[in-house]
Symmetry: C2
Subunit: 306 residues, 2 copies
């Protein structure tokens, strides 16, 4: 692919950026050493010729190791300015240097680990506020993988065993970072057989669109415009608004009966946008049908109800 | 449970039998040695005080071993008259003794193995005709497990790898026994992660309702009346009539994009019927909503279109 064409996907996404940045929601185990397709897309979506990227490892218990992996990957992708934020406490999360790093970043990348740890450390701190400011005002690209992806929604899956069948009461929620208001994210989706768990979440929380992201796959959201699925697997969307279930009639740990769940399955490779020709040559360009339009609205929404 | 109550589920199902027998569609690996819940329900649904059961092992390559397992299981359930049909060739399938055994049976049980072998041996023979006559005219209960379950539909999944994601061209069809005209059956469903495969089947064949039956689980169909889910797991139904897909635009082995698939998930334990009080105490009785009514119609249908 020629350099001109390579630029065009990036250029289109960046030129049309509505103000807010992109969200890159990654299902975990993304390739960090070979083609690095997802990380590459993240770098493009910083929309800066010489992007400054910060890596937030607060979800992880292995700050040094994880930081090094990502710094090496971004360096290999031509990023000259990449640093890992040392956030090990809420005090760190309030530190002016950390806050400044985020406010001046073109991209913030949240690693995997435990989403509860991530929120416990940064939730409600100046780091949290800075991330939202950067995203909304500077167009900073916010990415999260694995726990970092789950953390992106307002209603966050904190933990949950999840059988292959949806069971009542096995998934617990907590307050996440709120970059998605009307959806809930699960990751390592197909690989860890989490459809049952996501169906249980949606049965219990029918206001939320369930998003299941596979490993080495990313859902890229461009607020108000469209979305893409990048990488190797697929994104599964579960819409329970028309569903009926026996959720209220059963006890804890019992299997849930569900009727009329709407399921969408989106394999990597397509870009869904209002704009014709808004894709790179490597992508399949799909214009928005009413269903896809509705999905864009839900993913873009700043509010809890449309 | 008292004997009077135990009789009532059977009695209700048998008293209200519309003429045709019940279908018992089993996902494989049903319990044959302990509680034998599914096999027990099959025996009840023969609706005979001293039922005559024939076991058809034609799908299997291990006739003696398989026959013995089932004969032992039915004997333990109090069945005094159980025989295994020795059908090793199409000549056997046309043999008057085999045909007579089926025409006088209260239940016919098709074991697992390879559904293509089963159809190759009995498809279009007098055995095949006899099974349909017995089912329609005598109310004989027809059961099939694993390959035997797949074989029950008119459009039968003959083989197919099936990734966790639906791929074009990985599933092949053949003509099955035709006890279900408007649905297609897959088995070992959750255990072998076959949702992707069933979605691919429905994407390619949107006239058919996809039925995925888990191991040790049975979908029991009472034509024109209702259905039950018995056993340990669940039945997944996939309705693609309102779906859109990119099926026509992609090549073989490529992942299929699907929008607006309707999914129903029915765990074991419930009985869905027109009639109030048509359940045993062990079951949850569910009256038919419009969606459930539609499902009953599809499962009961003798025709390829409503």
């Amino acid at each position: 692919m020629s350099e001109t064409r390579e630029r065009s996907a990036e250029k289109i996404a960046c030129d049309h950026r509505s103000g807010a940045g992109h969200l890159v929601i990654i299902g975990g185990n993304e390739d960090r050493v070979q083609e690095k397709v997802i990380l590459r897309r993240f770098v493009e979506l910083t929309c800066a010729p010489d992007p400054k990227i910060v890596v937030l490892t607060a979800a992880s218990s292995f700050h040094e190791e994880v930081a090094e992996v990502y710094q090496r990957a971004f360096e290999a992708l031509g990023v000259a300015r990449c640093s890992a934020l040392a956030v090990h406490s809420r005090e760190d999360a309030g530190h002016p240097e950390v806050v400044e790093a985020i406010l001046t970043a073109d991209g913030v990348f949240m690693t995997g680990g435990d989403q509860r740890k991530l929120l416990a450390l940064i939730g409600g701190t100046a780091t949290y506020t800075a991330m939202h400011r950067a995203f909304t005002e500077r167009g900073t690209c916010i990415a999260g993988t694995s726990a970092g992806a789950s953390a992106m929604s307002a209603h966050m899956i904190a933990e949950g065993q999840g059988d292959i069948h949806p069971e009542k009461g096995v998934v617990s929620f907590a307050a996440g970072l709120g970059f998605l208001q009307r959806a809930v994210v699960d990751q390592h989706f197909s690989e860890r057989r989490r459809l049952g768990r996501l169906l249980a979440v949606v049965a219990q929380n029918p206001t939320l669109l369930g998003i299941g992201v596979d490993e080495d796959t990313a859902l890229v959201v461009e607020r108000g415009s469209g979305f893409e699925v990048v990488g190797d697997g697929a994104v599964t969307l579960v819409d329970g608004r028309q569903m009926s279930s026996n959720f209220l009639d059963i006890g804890e740990r019992e299997f849930i009966e569900l009727l009329n769940v709407r399921l969408h399955l989106l394999p990597a490779g397509a870009s869904y946008a209002h704009r014709a020709g808004a894709c790179s040559d490597a992508q399949v360009c799909r214009e928005l049908t009413p269903t896809l339009h509705e999905i864009v609205d839900i993913l873009s929404s700043n509010e809890t109800v449309s």
